[in-house]
């Protein structure tokens, strides 16, 4: 290959590389202004855990499936009705890794994962939730009128 041919090839390669940089100028921005705009998460998103106290039968499968044996199930066997009675149910969100293992394994479907992911507090002991705190409904992002919600990001970015 003579020198002119090599120069043409080099210019072409540089041009191809530069076209990539220029094409990024045409694309929509990926960043969202977080406190004022939030992404709507998908319905299978593994956020904070939601627990229905009435459906739980205190079988403790959730404890056995959890990687850290996290849920604390406090039950008492009532001898008169011959069933277990659930006294207290506790999850410590400081330690939970949100793996979602137990949602598959709970036999009565009393567990699900909500769309909340902003669980930070000033006092870490507030994250140790008992069954009343776990049963509260998630704060929906769509209903919050101070936050502009962004739809599913794949549809935005591939335009």
């Amino acid at each position: 290959m003579n020198y002119g041919h090599q120069t043409v090839l080099a210019v072409r390669y540089i041009g191809q590389g530069f076209m990539i940089t220029l094409s990024h100028a045409n694309r929509l921005p990926v960043t969202i202004q977080y406190p004022y705009e939030k992404l709507i998460t998908l319905e299978c998103f593994r956020g904070r855990i939601h627990f229905e106290f009435d459906k739980c039968i205190a079988c403790e499968v959730c404890v056995r499936v959890c990687p850290i044996d996290l849920p604390i199930v406090d039950w008492k066997f009532e001898t008169d009705i011959r069933k277990k009675r659930l006294l207290n149910y506790n999850i410590d969100f400081r330690i939970c890794i949100f793996c979602g293992n137990w949602v598959e394994y709970c036999p009565t479907n009393c567990l699900s994962m909500t769309e909340e992911y902003g669980l930070s507090t000033y006092d870490c002991h507030e994250l140790n939730c008992n069954q009343i705190a776990l049963g509260r409904l998630p704060m929906s992002v769509i209903d919050d009128y101070t936050i502009r919600t962004i739809l599913n990001s794949i549809q935005r970015k591939t335009q």
Binding site: R64, V65, P67, I97, C99, N101, I154
Partner: protein, 180 residues
């Protein structure tokens, strides 16, 4: 190290475990002669998390989230190897659709991992901007994972005998859009 440091004026520099080049924790004891690197001794072990000891006390379904976190850049491969072992030992047949889904997920992880190699590699050469372009592409992969599994990175999606849940309805089209 087979050079004695009293012959010439060699400088021994400790590049400590944390350094700003995002390669993770690796301690290098580097012997320098001026600007040339004469000898380099890596000291490993700063990322050891005791995973084998933890695994002694867990069942397979409890251990899968740990396995995802072994290789946090391409997260499906470690799950695949942890699940393939018991499947072959127990002669458990994986359904064909689950097998195909696993391969698609593994290939997406493969792409994501190579993207994340490319970013810091170019940052080492000197080009800092492609680092952010790479993360933009990885965000697209994360969105695909989130649609299928529920979490962007630490999804435990594989189970012994198949996958945790089926793909949602329009996922393949979005995946093909990504490939374009």
């Amino acid at each position: 190290m087979n050079l004695s440091a009293t012959e010439k004026d060699l400088m021994i520099v400790n590049m400590g475990p944390h350094h700003p080049s995002m390669h993770g924790v690796l301690r290098l004891i580097v012997t320098l002669d001026g600007e040339d690197v004469v000898d380099c001794e890596p000291i490993l072990g700063y990322l050891h998390r005791g995973m084998e000891k933890i695994a002694e006390n867990r069942t397979i379904i409890q251990y899968l989230p740990y396995v995802t976190r072994w290789d946090y850049l391409a997260t499906m491969f470690t799950k695949a190897i942890t699940v393939n072992g018991p499947e072959q030992l127990g002669n458990i047949q994986v359904p064909k659709r689950a097998s195909y889904i696993r391969v698609i997920m593994l290939e997406l992880s493969h792409i994501a991992s190579h993207l994340l190699w490319l970013g810091p590699f170019m940052a080492d050469i000197g080009a800092q901007t492609p680092f952010f372009y790479i993360f933009r592409e990885r965000e697209l992969v994360y969105d695909l994972f989130e649609a299928a599994t529920g979490m962007r990175m630490m999804h435990n999606y594989f189970r012994i005998g198949g996958v945790a849940a089926d793909l949602p309805y329009g996922w393949l089209d979005k995946c093909l859009d990504f490939c374009d």
